[in-house]
């Protein structure tokens, strides 16, 4: 749930902060279903190294550190691999990667 959109108002114009607009709204049943689907994909493919509920000992990247603006970087790393991580583009569909992103963002430090 993210309702902390802040507004800067002046001269009759209000601007929502860019980061808040990028934030994920998890309140709808559809969003919840997507997060649950992402959790299943994560547990099947990612948990091995990134840990249950995204908690690991520091051997791999702490995915909770990803912010809303990191989506393109995330997609690139997952699809093409990074460091020890193999590429997943031949295994996971774009929809599954999107579901995993939703799951990760639901547990992020910075919502």
């Amino acid at each position: 749930m993210h309702h902390l959109i802040t507004f800067a108002c002046g001269a009759g114009i209000c601007l929502a902060s860019a980061s808040a607009l990028l934030a994920q709204d998890n309140s709808s049943p559809e969003a919840q279903a997507k997060i649950e689907a992402g959790e299943s994909v994560y547990n099947n493919n990612c948990e091995n190294c990134h840990g249950d509920q995204l908690v690991n000992t520091g051997q791999t990247f702490d995915l909770r550190r990803l912010t809303a603006g990191d989506r393109a970087r995330f997609d690139n790393s997952v699809r093409n691999g990074k460091n020890q991580m193999p590429p997943w583009k031949d295994v996971l569909s774009n929809e599954e990667i999107d579901q995993v992103w939703s799951y990760i963002r639901s547990k992020a430090y910075q919502k």
Partner: protein, 561 residues
Amino acid sequence: MKRSAFAGAMILALSGVSSLAQTSQDLKAAGGTTGDVLVYGMGYSGQRFSPLTQINKENVSRLVPVWAYSLADLQGGEGFPLVKDGVIYVTTHNATVAVDALSGKQIWRVIHEYPPETLRVVCCGIVNRGAAIYEGMIIRALMDDRLVALDSATGKEIWTAKSPDPVTHANGYAMTGAPLIVDGVVIIGVAGAEYSHRGLVEGYDAKTGKHLWRLYTIPAEGEPGSETWEGDSHQTGGGSSWVTGTYDAELDLVYWGIGNPAPWNPRARKGDNLFTNSIFAIRPKTGERVWYYQATPQDPFDYDAVQTPVIATINVDGNPRKIVMQANRSGFLYVLDAKDGRLIAANAYGKVNWADGVDRETGRPLTTDVFKGALEGRTVTVWPSVSGVTNWQHMSFSPQTGMLYINTIHVGMTYQAPEPPKLAPGKPSGAGTVKRTTVTEDPNVRGFLKAVDPLTGKSKWETPYRSPNFSSTMVTASNLVFTGVMTGEFQALDADTGKILWSFQTPSGIVGQPITWERNGKQYVTVMSGIGGVYAQRAGDPNLENLPTGVSLWTFALFDK
């Protein structure tokens, strides 16, 4: 494969070493030798007991590091060190090294390459648990289902062998365990029950790498046991074999633990799911399965029975009897007759609620409503969790005290199996097929090191740890138990009381396997440090967040004034 330039300079210096062959007879005697450590588990029995006594309760406080060696690796350091003629051989997932045992200087180092895609089917730690030594060769498995034999003096490759079809990472197979060599046969298992494979154990000729036999752990259509699987579920039935077994020369039997059924979700594989979660007794020359004992039929909870069966002769009802002992992941400690697998004892050695006990006549667990609920898809609270009361970490057995020294896990879980997935070889079939959350009684006591009576399961003492130890234990004739802690402490405990007598902070968490050996009249203790493996990577233990990583090899001895 790359070799360091340094290796060449050492070849001449060590050429005399390679001429000292490690024959089958040497390996059979390995449990009693103290200068060399030639067999995984410190001897074929897997007892991890040493007769050495120079380091004892009175002087262990003077134990200091002699040297440390960097393996230049950020994955888990689970390897079992071998020692032969003053040289230590250790492995990581992508390296094999030879190190001078007294100085810690590198003699040779070989880097092994494997396709990055391999790691898609390595569920439980990017690791290797060790090598075997035979007639001047260091023989180990590689992640991508190959065995390689290296010249122990130079690291030069002598032979390499790929496991025949269908063993590929695409079909859900990987190799992380250490081989066991018996009478010239290299015996190795596979990981991958979380990826819908059909498990197996196999044998290779140690001299040439020729494939000799394969024993599938899951029956083919129409074979005995296939009737214990629903529909065609046996085709992707799991039954991995990722932890090294033991050998009894008198009975000529290898004992090997077999892993969980696939998928974890049990709802589409009704039946006993033979021969998952079993202990096998195997004829090493042929791969014939002489007997089996299934611990957990139709397992919903990933309770592999891969824990190394430890061989000993103990008094049962006043008579000496040769037995195998397994501290099963399910929470029950099994004692079986080594000759025929007959059940002698099975008692809980940790918190268990999925079964009330084990029927002495049938050998089957007396399951509770928790187990039934899990099969029906209800949400249940289960002890132990999927991590088990133990996992792969090895216990030790002291013939002097008659006790097992077991690093145990004290964590439960909520569990629910939703609609089961449709599987295909190589497709994930583990954690994503069920829903779980972690349950603890005390979040800061998630494990104990216990001294356990094998016949009753009762503890003589229990030493608590904030997170469970995934290091193996080793016990000496001076009644010291050595183990490592996830946060890096290498420790010696009093085998009689569980009191921590000595502790040394290594640079990373310890998930390795301590050994002890002697040279020139001095006793040494060696262990790998380097956090990683199944619990560190997967369990989500908040007590272990953001630990320092990096594998290193440490050797300790008493400080000389």
